[in-house]
């Protein structure tokens, strides 16, 4: 078989789900920024615009929760399986493989530790924005304070997910789940 189940789960987590989350975050950010009021007057959203804005924020939150759930409960357990006593070939045990070499140990102690927790923060922040976007998309666009917070939280999410994705790429490059 060309790809193992372990490898497919990693790709599903890292490329399909994380990729969808990044795309949805960019879309949500774009919708909020693109509907910027020209002056003090509020921007009336058409039902279609409101649907797209709500949809993008909800999609970002849902995909981020899928990323963290699959990452934590499917991919991470595969990554941290301990090797049997006396094993010399650690190719199937990525965590042990990284920690066995001082040059790559940081990929676990720094990169993976960040990946364990930070995506949860991104999912929580995205859900906060989605709650506002779903209940009242016009407020997310027209209320200056809420709009600023929405943009700030979405930007933070985008940064966190991008960083986690980059660290995941580093880890998978050195110690892939085969």
């Amino acid at each position: 078989m060309l790809f193992s189940d372990r490898s497919l789960w990693t790709m599903f987590h890292g490329i399909v789900l994380s990729g969808a989350a990044l795309a949805a975050l960019v879309a949500a950010l774009f919708f909020v920024l693109a509907t910027r009021p020209a002056g003090a007057a509020p921007v009336p959203l058409t039902p279609r615009q409101a649907r797209w804005l709500s949809g993008a924020t909800i999609l970002a939150a849902v995909t981020l929760w899928l990323v963290v759930i699959v990452g934590t409960y499917v991919v991470f357990p595969l990554y941290r399986v301990p090797p049997p006593e006396g094993a010399t070939d650690l190719a199937l045990y990525p965590r042990a493989m990284l920690l066995a070499d001082p040059a790559t140990a940081w990929l676990h102690s720094f990169a993976m530790e960040i990946k364990e927790h930070v995506p949860f923060i991104a999912a929580i922040l995205a859900t906060g924005v989605a709650a506002v976007g779903a209940r009242n998309p016009a407020t997310l666009v027209n209320d200056p304070r809420i709009r600023a917070m929405g943009i700030t939280l979405l930007t933070i999410c985008l940064g966190l997910v991008s960083a986690a994705g980059l660290l995941g790429t580093f880890i998978n490059k050195v110690a892939p789940l085969q």
Partner: protein
């Protein structure tokens, strides 16, 4: 604004349970063995967030809140939450 402040509190809560664990003060129980301690830490963080959100939502439903203060508090909580999940910071508390 309750959703935003609760999100900040959620970010802080995730960091809070992580730093407590790393400092050896309190380790949230492992809820799923194959995933290890992260399953407990993050579940505790998520539950804390949901509780804070429910409380804020109930209390602020019909109340005007100072948006500037809420925004500032949200950002401070997020920064603290992120700092507490940053491995080099653990050495200070460990």
């Amino acid at each position: 604004m309750a959703a935003f402040l609760a999100a900040g509190a959620g970010a802080f809560a995730v960091g809070f349970w992580v730093i407590l664990s790393e400092a050896g003060v309190f380790a949230a129980p492992t809820l799923y063995g194959p995933a290890g301690g992260v399953s407990g830490r993050t579940t505790f963080g998520v539950l804390t967030w949901l509780i804070v959100w429910a409380v804020l939502h109930a209390r602020w439903k019909s109340r005007e809140v100072n948006a500037r203060s809420v925004s500032s508090a949200t950002l401070v909580l997020i920064v603290l939450g992120l700092l507490f999940t940053f491995p080099p910071v653990w050495a200070i508390f460990g």
